[in-house]
Symmetry: C2
Subunit: 333 residues, 2 copies
DNA sequence: AGCGCTCACGTGAACGTTCACGGGGGAGCT
DNA sequence: AGCTCCCCCGTGAACGTTCACGTGAGCGCT
């Protein structure tokens, strides 16, 4: 009557000990290769454990030896190659430190980001990633958890932020176009927020420094299709444009495509320069000229800062938390 | 003398309780929005917690309410778009279940895979992924942990495996080429293992069914450069070849590139068909014809099976654990 | 006044493991 | 024989939370 129908209680180290006729400690020794145990005893314990289907509780273990670190990595869209590269870099940096990385893909939905943050907070020792929600909210949800942000456009003060500085790179890109004779240069900005992006500011600055107007701007969804549509818009509104700088490489690839469909030759009829430096850009035709970011460094920096926050070392200064873009000339411009 | 220099002991719920002049339980109530607590008391507790920098131990919490599930996702190379897609799909499927996914990128090194498995085993409730080590070893390292494998070529018996069945798709691909008049069709196989891949077997079978020989085979590293080199080899050894089927899309893209460098027009001079159905394939020029796999389904299946293994439901049968490839004709063939 | 009910809070126990000890027994030595 | 030492093993405590209770104060009702 008591043997059946009861809740399927977890099999603990006690059960194994009893079954093998030893104590908990001996079982622990056997499972963790601790030494101080007879070979035959060890085998007997191991057999018992296997027979009972015993698996140690990671919680109980973690509770007593507090030695495992795991960080949450929050990403808007893993399928976006930029974030893929950043994630890969972060995973790599974390691996060398023996950290566990819990990855959350918010699918570009800010409301998901909120829920994610909520469930994350109780499961990791730190959060790094690309968050778009307001700082106060992050602060509230993270509840004192170390947080390292990536490329947060509005100056994040409360948290460490890896800043992306493309100013010099964009200037170099515009100079490159200028030197090639282009005078009518447009931009395909993002369409996400209502305000223009920081990248657009760099573009405008660079244009101004050559005495060029920066009014030929269209907005593009961050996808290949978005880039296609945006280039069409841009050329419709500004037929004189002979070169475009884009918010990122994905959009640029869309522009490449739209240009091809229109029968425009790249770079002869239309020059295209992207932003991000995706390895994907080298695969398309023609290979994409771009302002490249070192995503490996980006991921590594984020992890490094997280480590310092975690250990209480002196964190990196804002001046050090920067990744700069640099012009990588391929064939599209 | 006692106040300084001691180890930086963790601040616990006790400390908060003492500081706020209440009991542990009240603190717990305040932090978890449990109700049965006075509003002012709650605020006082929250303030104390914030002031002390208190953060609950995920281990202690997990120990008592055993409600959070986390699975390990092991991937050979996140930068390989195929695995990116699978990972994204798995993340998505896991999210709907409220699981945490710990991601490990072994960087294509089997020795890393071993270490990963070791550290993973004590940190997750199940493992899903692409593992290449021998079954006995996985078995030993996993120690009873549910394991779901993806596309394991050598029949995995001990573990659930999501099988990739490209036979029909590859037959369709070869038929497509045959109908277009191709009689000399080569293949770019992988170079990883010493034996030919299962995909090569499908290729050979399909060729045989059209009475064609399948001896024009080169081996390619799984990279764009590998594909380039392999096509060069293939054409050197078999100049009569007018069409190639490749181990995967990445290799196919390399082949596309090598063809372009040689001045061969695709598909007129050389037809190319890949395998995997990466969305990346639609971006290259010309868009890649391929035997497409539904990676979303792949990831979803893996997670679904993991769920069944975890809850003790009746697991999916091998017959259900299959993802079939189907020919997706674009422009490269 | 007495009863019962609700609200706000506290107390022991439990979750499952490892750590720091402590101890028995046999082998080897003097 | 007696001592020491080492090997192997067991016992209480601790890790930091939450759960299931228990309790007292205050209030409304008859």
């Amino acid at each position: 009557m008591a043997s059946s129908g009861t809740a399927p209680r977890r099999v603990t180290i006690h059960d194994v000990a009893r079954s093998a006729g030893v104590s908990r400690q001996t079982v622990s020794r056997a499972l963790n290769d601790k030494g101080e145990i007879d070979a035959t005893t060890k085998e007997r314990v191991l057999d018992a454990a296997l027979a009972l289907g015993y698996r140690p509780s990671r919680f109980a273990r973690g509770l007593v030896r507090q030695d495992t670190i795991s960080v949450g990595l929050v990403i808007p869209d893993l399928l976006n190659p930029f974030f893929t590269e950043v994630a890969a870099a972060a995973l790599d940096a974390a691996r060398t430190r023996g950290w566990h990385v819990v990855v959350y893909d918010t699918g570009d939905r800010p409301d998901e980001e909120r829920g994610t943050l909520e469930m994350i907070a109780s499961q990791v020792d730190a959060v790094v990633g690309y968050l778009s929600r307001p700082e106060e909210e992050i602060d509230k949800l993270a509840r004192g958890l170390p947080v390292v942000l990536i490329d947060r456009e509005h100056r994040a003060e409360r948290f460490s932020t890896i800043r992306i500085d493309g100013e010099a790179g964009v200037h170099a890109a515009i100079r490159h176009l200028y030197d090639a004779g282009h005078r009518h240069i447009g931009m395909l900005d993002h369409a996400g927020r209502s305000e223009p992006s920081v990248r657009h500011d760099w573009f405008a600055g660079a244009m101004a420094s050559h005495g060029l107007p920066a009014h030929a701007v269209s907005r593009a969804d961050q996808s290949v299709e978005g880039g296609e549509a945006a280039l069409k818009d841009l050329l419709a509104a500004h037929p004189e444009v002979t070169a475009v700088f884009t918010f990122n490489d994905i959009v640029a690839i869309g522009a490449l495509r739209a240009a091809r469909r229109r029968g425009l030759r790249v770079p002869d009829d239309l020059a295209v320069i992207g932003f991000d430096g995706l390895s994907l850009g080298a695969l398309v035709e023609p290979p994409l000229t771009t302002v490249a970011l070192n995503t490996r460094e980006l991921g590594a920096l984020a992890v490094e800062q997280t480590a310092r926050l975690l250990t209480g070392e002196t964190p990196l200064s804002t001046g050090e938390l920067v990744v700069r873009g640099e012009l990588r000339v391929r064939e599209s411009a």
